[in-house]
Amino acid sequence: MTEETIKPLSEPVYNHAHGRLLLPGTRYWPTDMWKSPWSLPTYRRGAAVLAGLITGGAAAAWFVGEIGPRLAPLYAAAEAFALSHDIPAFWISVVWTFIKGAILLLAPLVNALFAVWWERKISAHIQSRLGPMYVGWWHGALQTLADGIKLFLKEDIIPDCADKLVHTLAPIVVVIPAIIVFAPVPFGSGLVFADIDIGTVYVFAVGGVSVMGIIMAGWSSGNKFSLLGGLRSAAQLVSYELPRTFAVLPVIMLAGTLNIAEIASSQAGYWGGFVPRWFIFYPVVGQVAFIVFLIASVAETNRVPFDIPEAESELVAGFNTEYSGMKFALFFLSEFAYVLLSCLLMASFFFGGGAAPLPFLDFLPSWAWFLSKTLLLMFCFLWFRWTFPRFRVDRLMDFNWKFLLPVSLLNIAAGGLLIWLIS
């Protein structure tokens, strides 16, 4: 291994097996390139591309944020037009609800497209490899679409000794709550589908309905391993719902409301002019609540290190062994929808969803800040996946009942103490 890092050839070469002209950039990698990555021109180029993407994204967000309020008169004009043509206001609100519902339906679907690609890229770079590079124009951007089309076209296999009706209904029972759970969650200030007063309870309640779907999936597949996988998964999900809900209680106590949009907006303002009033910055209570909620959310969504029920080498993929094609895609979609939900909830509860971190940064619209906080938290989910080994199932339960639950209960008491000290 020589001292110079790159030695490209001077003339193009032919590959006699393929008969194609190859790129002249044939190179070989000295193993100590990691000691000085900035000396590699491709590394510098990649960093410049990343910086350009972030700046470009921020500029695009600012631009869209500026033209948004200028479009509001269009909606008012459309509404006046409809009213003048004797359409009752009731139907206008129905149409508007349907449009909002269609946009809300898109949220988990578009998220699945992006999140799967991002997960593959991040996991690849953590493992020093490249991830999807080929499909799509840039770094495999359309890879998820291609995989989705493949899953769509696969044959739908139902095992012979399976209960056909329950087997078909199980993915539906898992996926529908995963979509309707986004109703009270804000995507920015004022961007809520259903601004209901019990948003938090609704989210946790509807999330619990998916557990029934997983048990249905495990039982109806007709083999013992799927049943065991389904039961283990259901036990894990039901157990980890407790610390998750208790971790949010101090936040609810500090905010004084269950409405998620109001919890997010009650964190506006800055202490001393530059520290944002986010709940994560409240001494001890905020940080403990955030960590417990984060760990419990990772467990709730069946991600590593808590993915005993569905990991490839455990119980042959657990409850989704016997699912192929679109049904498997629905389970996958629901997992990523719940990851997005957990990240949105964390951004609303703990990071002031929509509020800029520093006072002078609020030229970016609230949905852009919300999105960036959500993406950062989703990165944490992906980061945990490739750092930790999997929990054994009894250690998983121990971790919940002997650590997370007592800590979250003590946190509630500490939250009460904090409120008493503040007032």
Partner: protein
């Protein structure tokens, strides 16, 4: 109680250390070589596909005897005819220059195990048979695996395409790197 707190603190610290390691690796460059568009040039003593130079070979047969897989075969060329004896008064005819000493030479790449013994035993300088740096030895049929050199063929010989077809020269055979300096 103290054990519990110690355990939790120890576990948290190790978790954070693990997360830091993973984060560092996220920002280090990837070591993937994206194969058809990027290729690795091996180290100089890499034993790739065999190449042969008919001009230098002295047809000693050391490579045939050294090969453990018996993949080399050769036939010596007949020596050039001796010039006619000088007649009285006529100047002696100049001796015919000897051409390559080899009639034909074949290597069966299906049998070659890339051990390098033929290269080691070749007495010429530079060597007449040597391992190039080519690792893309791809063949479609068994017949293609046997290469034959006659006078004037390039370093990669000719190959029989089918049982009755004439063997054709593979003229665009350039491999992934230049010919390295032969030892």
């Amino acid at each position: 109680m103290k054990n519990y707190i110690d355990f939790v603190a120890d576990a948290s610290w190790n978790t954070l250390k693990g997360l830091w390691v993973t984060l560092k690796f996220l920002f280090l460059p990837s070591i993937t070589v994206q194969y058809p568009t990027e290729k690795i040039v091996p180290y100089p003593r890499f034993r790739g596909m065999l190449a042969y130079d008919a001009e230098l070979c002295i047809a000693c047969g050391m490579c045939v005897r050294a090969c453990p897989s018996r993949c080399i075969a050769l036939a010596k060329a007949a020596p050039p005819p001796a010039p006619p004896p000088a007649a009285d008064g006529q100047p002696a005819a100049p001796a015919v220059k000897a051409g390559p000493k080899i009639e034909w030479y074949t290597i069966d790449y299906g049998r070659c195990n890339f051990c390098g013994l033929c290269e080691e035993s070749c007495p010429t300088k530079p060597k007449a048979v040597w391992h190039s740096l080519d690792y893309e030895a791809v063949f479609s049929t068994r017949e293609e695996m046997v290469r034959r050199w006659k006078r004037g063929d390039g370093p990669w010989g000719t190959v029989k395409r089918s049982a009755d077809a004439q063997p054709s020269a593979i003229s665009d055979q350039i491999h992934i790197q230049d010919m390295p300096v032969r030892k």
